[in-house]
Subunit: 427 residues, 2 copies
Amino acid sequence: MKKLIKNVGIYRDHKITESQNIAIKDDLIIGFPLDPVPAAYDEVIDGNNMLAFPGFVNTHNHIAMTVFRSYADDMQLMDWLEKKIWPAEDKLDSDIVYAQAMLGIAEMIRCGTTSFADMYFFMDDVARAVENSGIRAALCRGMTGITPNAQQALQESKTFYQTWNGKADGRITIMLGPHAPYTCPPDYLRQVVDVAHELGAEIHTHLCETKGEIENIQKQYGKTPIALMDELGVLDCGCLAAHCVWVNDEDLDILAQKHVRVAHNPGSNLKLASGIAPIPKMLEKGITVGLGTDGASSNNNLDIVEEMHLAAFIHKAHTLDPLVIPAETAINLLTEGGAKCLGYTHAGKLEAGCKADITLLDRNGLHWYPKNDMMSLMTYASNSFDVDTVIVNGNVLLRHKEFTTIDIEKVKAEAERTKNKLFASII
Amino acid sequence: MKKLIKNVGIYRDHKITESQNIAIKDDLIIGFPLDPVPAAYDEVIDGNNMLAFPGFVNTHNHIAMTVFRSYADDMQLMDWLEKKIWPAEDKLDSDIVYAQAMLGIAEMIRCGTTSFADMYFFMDDVARAVENSGIRAALCRGMTGITPNAQQALQESKTFYQTWNGKADGRITIMLGPHAPYTCPPDYLRQVVDVAHELGAEIHTHLCETKGEIENIQKQYGKTPIALMDELGVLDCGCLAAHCVWVNDEDLDILAQKHVRVAHNPGSNLKLASGIAPIPKMLEKGITVGLGTDGASSNNNLDIVEEMHLAAFIHKAHTLDPLVIPAETAINLLTEGGAKCLGYTHAGKLEAGCKADITLLDRNGLHWYPKNDMMSLMTYASNSFDVDTVIVNGNVLLRHKEFTTIDIEKVKAEAERTKNKLFASII
């Protein structure tokens, strides 16, 4: 199956070049023909007035938490967790998680996302939603070592890996998801590391999200969460660490040395008042960084383009330096940086031999006028509603803003039905 | 001319109430009939699955700077001004400003904006664009006291006031626009204050935008910019002050005491690395605050919904308090707070007797599902593309995302033509 995207502006080699063509065969980009013959392709996509980017990557999510979107906001974190979220999470089931995962996936595709990393429960249902929708994902079952089901979670993670890793035409990869150093004691983390080595699985965890976490871990173990995770071998498994807001220079050196990839979640970090991660410093040290929305309950949308705006904005004010996170860096966080975070070796770039994960934005919106610098317009002026077409693994999932694989009215109705079911069960 | 918005969720009395009706006669909201007879109205707008808000207000703009949108980003402020903006601004003309103002107004209407405050040059052309488009605006000619045309600018401001104040069915009001304390020496500001009193005009100015401004004014005059402006009588004229990022507690007391209204521009303050204004403290002191985009070259869009997200986000992280700027406050900044900033006494609320400036958002987007708390969804999950219908002064300017008063393809073409003309003249 061959596809051609014709006459499109493309982001390649760190710049935008107009009037290019992209040839796709099956799941791969195969080249950029100068004078293609449309008849040689099964499908020709008109890229007129569009820009093609490597598909956007959402590097940290708890996708089924869409059910809690705007359910309980403007609260202190522990109130929110103890009074609202944890009691409700106890009542989640397979039906609810599948419906909410489909909602979240649909929203992400609509915002140009072609792959995402997820940590939650009932992950077989999330994997089914990934398989059915056509998106790409790196999934893990969240594990905590301090709850009665700690061992069960570890066993389920193993089974989850064995069942799903490499499935759905290779679109699904499985990681291990120890929740955080404050919910997973050292002994438990050692077990996770053993399983990671046994399976060859990488790790996705939360790290250094709040000031309180640093203070508690420091008090309990006499070291920072990153030093602790390093000592326990977690960072040697290939590690995606979400947040990394409160990190000192030694922590940054460890992250760089151990090639830890950082999921930067500006919206969540701002909304939950966690703080602002030192992303410019990380990039200086060569640390790989991608963008994440976190769950919809901490954001409250899954709009990765908005996260790019936030990333391009907040570090400038935080450092009082207007030159940090310039346009090219912001676009890289959204695309190639994100793909590296998820452990993808042949994605995140528009290059022959890379997976055909491509997001097309139309430039008809008023905010794209007048036509000055395209990189800057993309970074500072664009909007997720500019996303016109989304291609994952060579398949068109969104065409002119319409879904091809998802019955969107059914997804909305199911999201509403399962939300009502959940909340009926806890009142 | 009577209009009815039927069966709509409305934001009124600080909360959202479903299944309401809004009756409009000419330019005013006249009531909320419980069981209206559609035949009694000239037009009935179906509000099904929509939310009605007081029209969004953009309290600080330099609208014709759309021509510089993404023209020169990721630069130091003085490099940007001296090498890029000032040489280009010298070549602006009436034709360019009108075309770019129409572009900016169209973009603002598309984002739900019903009124805006603007400071720039060739303001007769901006006023014509306001008159022709149907939007409401508080306009001023920007004045600097350190340039050769200082006296001319003051005279033009006077003429501009006399020509346009109260025109376009009362949609246009005129203010005086001394640029900032660092571009307007005390003697000049005293002259501005005299003219303000003579005309009964209010003042729109930039105040305390950067740390450098505070340091320089302090060094030159031995007091803060706000203390200086207060001493010169500027704050006694009725004053809209943009930015107010670097203000101390005494400054805040002066702002409160003199009823200065603050235009908070989070996007611009972040992007230009100006800093983060202490908005929660201002609100505690009872200071009126609205939201602004600033010019498109500092943002780079005119999306006031994005500014609301930013305002709801950044102060939580800046103060490490997740409870500051909760949903209701954020919505108030966008609506009533903004209307007060512009000096409107009968706007900014959905109340009988208020101007019929109304923004309708549709709730069909995936990010509005599942249907939990509406105030929270609006504040944290919504998007400017949810804006469906925009009514100003009782007239529908946007209906189901289509413009009624603006030929949008012509606006885009004119924006492009005049941009090319401008840049051809400076190369």
